[in-house]
Every structure is written in structure tokens, then in C-alpha cells.
Amino acid sequence: MDKKVTVALLLVAMAVHVPAIRLILNQIGFAGLWFELFVMLLGVAFLVLTGIGFQGPQTSANQPSIPARFLLGVLLAALIASLWGVLSDDAVWVWRGTGFCLSATMALLMGFSSRRLLHMGLLLSMVPWALWKMAPEMHSIGQWLASSFAGSILDLGKVFYFAKGNVLGLVSTDFLENDACSGLRFTYPCVLLVMTYGFFRRYPIFRCLYLLVACLFWSIVADGSRIAYHAFIQDGQEAKVSWDLGALPLVIMLSVLFLTWSGDQFYSAFSDQANDKDQESSKETQGHELSSDLDNRESRISSFAAWSVLLGIVGLGGWSISRNQWGHGLDVGQAAATAAVESLRLDPSVAGWTIGPATESAENFSAHFRHTPSWTHREWELTPAESLNGTMKLRVDGIWLRLPKLDWLWRWYGWKIDRVVPAENGSSSFEMKRSIVEEGYVVTKGIRVLGDSSLAGPLVQVSLVLESVRPISQKQRKEQQDLHARMVQAIEQQLRFGAAIDGKNP
């Protein structure tokens, strides 16, 4: 395989995906996720530096240190990721594909082994967690486990509590522990550090997975303990106890890392693999030795296939550039978007409904998987002019760069959601039930905040919620849908923007 040709093609493949990378960087800037990005890059840099220190037998200048067949596999993974990203309009996957290309480039230039290439690629794939499509679901499952564990501790401590989905409430007080149960706060940096540690120690993939599982386990245990501690302090207090977190998050994070490392010691002691490093060193060397049979026929075929795949990645990037798929970027800053939502004002009455400020909702919290450093939530109460029956709540939640599943909030609070039904005007509605009598109906829609309609931009979720203990009639639902359409129109006019979009975009 001609290393220069391969590196040149890799550089071109990365260059054509620069717009997607820029978009992700814009999103990271908007969401204030620089710390997560820093930790990820720190991990990669650490692997690169330690890799430079660990040089195997040198190959010739034009001979790659990686077997062609392995390189082909990595590039195929990059192609699939990029293809998925381009087709699903998700720049995160393009980032991942490009991450593998970058790893391959560095590995070829610096003579790294295939294992190190894979490790760097995997680390570069770890885009900040909040940008993952699955982030709300992952947080939801993790939080459910953490809250359940906190519940077990409270049961052992004979503190009476109840659970509404992922959120705990105490029997002795009249509010939910929304803040304590708002998500796993330190899992992502822990996972990155554990991955880096495992890769640095050149552990086999099974052991890396074991460490990851241990890290996630201890994260959940630590978060559950934090919630339980919060509940212990709050139990029996009529008013909300405010307390300064101080260095607690850092202590918890260090505890998670220590326990994961302790788990690693257990693995070593139990399996008696004291000489892991030596074994892995020999494998690292093998990675170089494999390049000795580069000239055989099979290797040549693999090389041509790898170049073809690279050309495919280049073509894909070219295609997305020609469509200006990622060129739109974010045309509005986080501060401007937040200010626009914060300044929303609604008329005091609309179509026979009086709109007033809502008492603070019990079911509201600052989602940890949000896309802004601070969470924006507005809420109004809508009362029909004739009677107090059928009072609804209008919520504006956000700001999102990409809407999560529209029922995320209600699932978090333990509502069982019926099928989400999209409507012609872009809004969606769903029925929900909880415990034995609670019923609800929600009409919701994502609305862009400021900016040009043709660009991807920040969104807020505008929802009209009716909760009742009586079945909600078709007439009530229709009325709710009409009212929601009016409210959306009023909000869109204030945000000086006419288009609303559904949950699939941008």
C-alpha cells in the first residue's frame, strides 16, 4: 500500500467534511459543551503522546504500519458512519466518520499500531453526550436506575418516599425532588477518562467493556446516593432546603473513578494477569510486524479497496457540499435565543380563555441533556371564561438544538404515553395516563427561535397540557388543538419567525 496516497486521500476525505465538523463545533459552542470537548481531546492527545513514546520497529517511509485489511475495516466504518450522517441529516455521525479518518491519518503518519488507531477513533467518536440523539433516553434509563437505587437506600433508612417516574417525592413534604433527579451529571467525563485509561493500559476490548460497565454502575450508585442524601436532608422539612453543592460533584466524580480503578485492580488480582502490559506490548509489536507482508496479492486488493472507500467518503462529502447540507450553521447566539424566549409576553385573554401566570409546576426541572448552559422554562395557566373547569397549562421548554422525542418530559415523570399523533399543521398530540385516575392530553410543537427560516436553529417546545381525573372528550381535545394553534401563532409572531417544524428536524 502506498502510504502517501492513502494519507493524501484521507486528508481530502476529512477536508470535504469540514462544514459538518464546523456545524458540530458551532453547536458545542452554543450549548456551552467546551469542557466535554476538552476532556475528549485530552484523551486523544494523551494516546497520541504515549503512542509516540511507544514506537515499534520502524517501517519504511512509504509503508504503512497498519495492515491494509484492518485499515479497510476502519475506513468502511468511517464510510458507513458518514453515509448514515448524510442520509439522516445528523452531523454527529459525520463527525464520528471523520474522527476515524483522522485517527487513521495520525496512525499512518506516526507509525501507530492498529489497536491505537482504533482507540483514538473510538475516543473521537465520543461527541459530547448532550448532542447524541439518544441522550434523553440514556439519561432517562440511567436516572430511573439511580432513583430506584436512591429509593432502596431510603427504604433501608425508613424514609418514606414515592416515585413519579424518575423523580422522587417525600411523604413528609409537598414537593418533588426535581433538582436532585434531573439527570446523571458526571457520567460523560468519567466514561471518557475510563476509556482513555483502558486504552492507555492497552487492555483487551473485553476488559475495556468491563471497566465501562463498572464506571456506569458506580455512576448510577453515586448519583443514587446523592439523591438519597438530598432526601435525608429534606425529610421532615416543610420548606425546601437549599444547600450549596460546593465540591460535592467533584468528590462524587473522583469516587466513581476510584471505585472503577478499584474494580480494575480486582480484575487483575482475580484473573492474575499481572503481565497484561507485556502481552499487549507483544501485540503492539505484532501490529508492526504484520506490515511485512504488504506486497502480497491480498494486501494489494485491500489497498485498492481502502482507496475506493476513501473515494466514496470524498464523494459523499462532495455531495453534501453540493447540497450545502451543513453550510447553514447556527445564525443566532445562545444569549440572543434565550433573551427572545425570556421576553415572551402573551395577551391576557384569547378566544374566551384567560391567560395568567402559572403557579410553578411541580413537574418541571432543568434537563441535564439540554442544549444550552441554562434551561429556559415558561409556563402560563389558561382558564375558560365560564368556569374554572378544564384549566390548561401552556409550557415553553427549551432551548434545543434538535428536539428530543416530544413526550420526553411526561415520560420522565412516569406518564404512560399513548401513540403520538402528528397533525397537518406540524403539531403533535398524545394521550397519557398515570396511577389509577390521572389522565392527560398534550398538544405540542417545536418552534424555531429567531433567525432565518432556511437555517438550522435553536428550538423551543410549545405544549398545551390538560390534566384531569375525568376522561377527556373529543370536543375538549379539538378545542385544545385549536387553542394550541392560536398560541403557537402568537408565540411565532413574537419570535419574529413564521415557520414551525416537527421533531425530525433539523
Binding site: F160, V171, S172, G263, A269, I436, V469
Partner: protein
Amino acid sequence: MLRFLADLPVRTIAWISDILEIALRFFGSFLDRGNFEDLDRPVGIYGALRRRLSQFFGFVASFVSYPVAGFFYRGQRRRQFLWSIPFCLLGLTVVTGSLLIAFNRERILNRYLARVQNAYTKQDGSRGVRAAMRWIGDSEFANADRKFLYSLVEIQNGNAVTAERILERLSPRDSTGLGIAHFWRASQCLGNLEESKVDASERRELLDDFDWHLERASGVSVGQMAVLESMKAYWDGRLEDAESKYRAVWEADAFQSVGFGALLKKLGKDQEREFVLKTGAARIAEQLRSDPWNRALRNQLTSIYEMLGEWGRAEVVHIEGYKIRRDKESIDAYRAFLERRTEAALREPRDLRELAYCLVKILRTSGASPRVQDVMARSLLRPQEELLGLQKEFNQWLVEGLDLPMVHLSLAFCKGLLGDDTSRDWHFEQAGRYEKEAMGIANPLLGFMQEASKEQGEYHQRMQRWQLGDGSIDPKGP
């Protein structure tokens, strides 16, 4: 033979030894982690299976013996073992704790159930509801009886609609349901039947529902069931039967006086009704004397007095109750009583003396609340002759020394509406002199009266003319 018997002990020992050796070899092979010489290595499917099995047993044995074996490790492995202690100890604690909770789930939920029962007994509805939240969504634990308990605490918590919905779900038409929920549904049907607006078809439907639920009702006292059966007889047109059944219940339980009185009224037996109510009141008053803390008895007694129209006696019973228990429930009961008394006084033909009394009392207990504003407008924005009559009654109450600040305040409004501005201001100042807080009540009341009198031109002008100052009163007076 003798030789055989002589060898027998030796042979027995040899057999036992052989058996032990075979057993040890067999079980020992499982614990031997594949430590086979190449020639001994088992081959074939059986051999592979045996090898895997032995590896598995070896793993389990190492795992179980790890906490002890670790202390015999040397060198780096010993260090690793020591550092793994936090992981093992905490991990074991977490897993054991979680398993402990999982296996004791029923016992824990029973603890919460007891909490709900306790809260219900102490009438702490909100806490009861929150404790019930732990198990109400658990379809296995929350059986019909427990759901019924939940509905009771919801009622205590003020969520009657939620409780009704639960009871409706507990008494479906398509399955058995819970007897007591059927009883509640039957009572609900009865309440609906007695509403005057029900037309013939609705009545038929309600009667059908009433019969259906009554047949399945259970879990309440015989007397309570007899009441419903008596009412069924009434609605079926068996009036004699209805009366005799209810009478039997009333004779056993004076608490049924109000209900029986209502039935007798429907049957047109007013004299008998009065006798029943008076007898019932005497019986309950007797019981209340021996148990003055009993709130149910007190409420029942006031209800009977109210039915008899003896508002003054009912008020005395309420005030007595408030003196015994100065809590929110007593205050609410008294306020509700005043509401009923005021409504009765406002009914045509009006009893002006009673109305003046109620207005003063309601002003005292509820301030300038929207409800008081409404009563004020309905009482004072009336024809001049009636207003003059009401003013006379206020003056009479003034002479009798009833709540002077509130009587002066009421008189100020009467005088203001009648156009006597000098007397209006004098009464207003007197009210402020007796109680400065009365001035605070006057402001929102005047605003409301100005708004409410818009349709009555003269009254409106007079109200508009009245400008209240900042509420400061010269202590020396005019």
C-alpha cells in the same frame, strides 16, 4: 466363610476407601481448572463439555475463595487485592442492599399502607395521599380495598372529584367491583334522583342504576343499607314501606334524624317531621353532653337545628365546638353554617332582622371576600323601603350591642345608599374608632358596591360620591 468374615472389616475399609477415591477424583476434576496433561486432556464433545464445566466450577471456587485467598497472595497481586477491597465491599453492599429491598418489597409496601391508614385516622389527607402514591400504581399490591382507602384519603385531601372517579372505577357495570363502592354509587344515584331538574327518561335510567348498584352494595352497616332500601321503596312508590323501614333505622340511630325528617317532609307529614327532628336533637344533645369532643355528633346536632330553622341554637352549638377545638375545621364549619344561614335569610320573603345579623357576622368572619361582596350587594341594593327596614334592624342590633364596628360599617353603607352623607361619615368614623381594621374592609367593599350599583342610577351616584380617605382616624373625634 470364617475367613471371609475375618476379612470383612478390612474389605469394608478398602471399599469405603475406593468409593472415597472415586468420589474425590470425580468432584476434584470439576475444581481442577483444566490442569490436564496433553495426554490426559479429554477429547470429544463430552470432553469439551467437561472441560468447560470444570473451568466454570474453578471460576466459582476462585470467586468464592477470593476474599480469603487474597490475603495469601504475594507481590503485585497482593497489592492489587488490597486495592480491590473498596470495590468488592461496596459492590457487595450495594448488591446485597438492593436484593434485600427487592425481597422485602411486600413488607415495605405494607409499611406505606399502614402510613396511609394512620394518616386517614388522623385526617391528614395530603400526607395519606403522598404515602399512597408509593403503591397506588402497583397493580399487584393495590387491590380494590386499598384503592378504596386511597379514595378516602383523597376526599380528606379535598380532591373529591378524584375520589369519585376512583369509586366509579371500583363499581363498574361490567364486573363485580367493590361492595362499598357500589353503595357509594347507589347513594350518588339517589342524590341525583332528588334533584328537581331530572326528566322522566333520566329518572328511569337513574332508578335502573340505583337498583343495580344497591343489589351489589355491601361492606357498610345494616342501618346504612336499610336507609337506601327505604329510599328505593319510596322511589318504587311503596311509601308505607319506605316510612316504616326508615323509622326502624331512626329508632336505632338518631344520626338518621335529618334523613328521616327529609323523607317525612316529602311524604307531607310535617308534624311528625318536627317531632322526629326534636326527638333526634334531644337524643344527640344528650350524647354530645357526655362526649363534647365528638365532632360528628356536633355537626349532626347543628344540622338538625338548621332543619328546624333554629339558627340561634345551631350557632351556639358551633361556637361551643369552636371553643373546644380552635382549629381550621371548626372555623370552616362555622363559616359554612353562616353561608347557609345568610342564604336562608336572603330567601323571599326576607327576614330583615336575620339578614342584618348575618351580614354583620359574615363581615366579621370573612372580611371583604368576594362572597361577602356578593351578599352585601344582594342585601343592600334593594328598593328604598326595604333598605330603610334593614337600616332599622341594624340600628336595633346597635342598641343590642352586636359587634359594634361591623354594625357601624353596615350602617355607613346603608346611609350612603340612602343619601345621608353626614350620618354615613359618622358611622364610618365610629367603625374606625372601634376597630381600625374595619376601614381596610371598607375600601374593597365600596369599590365593589360602586361597580355593582351601575344599573341603579341613584344608588350608583351616591356610592360614587363617597370617597374614603386613607383610613386614618382622629382619636379625639369630631
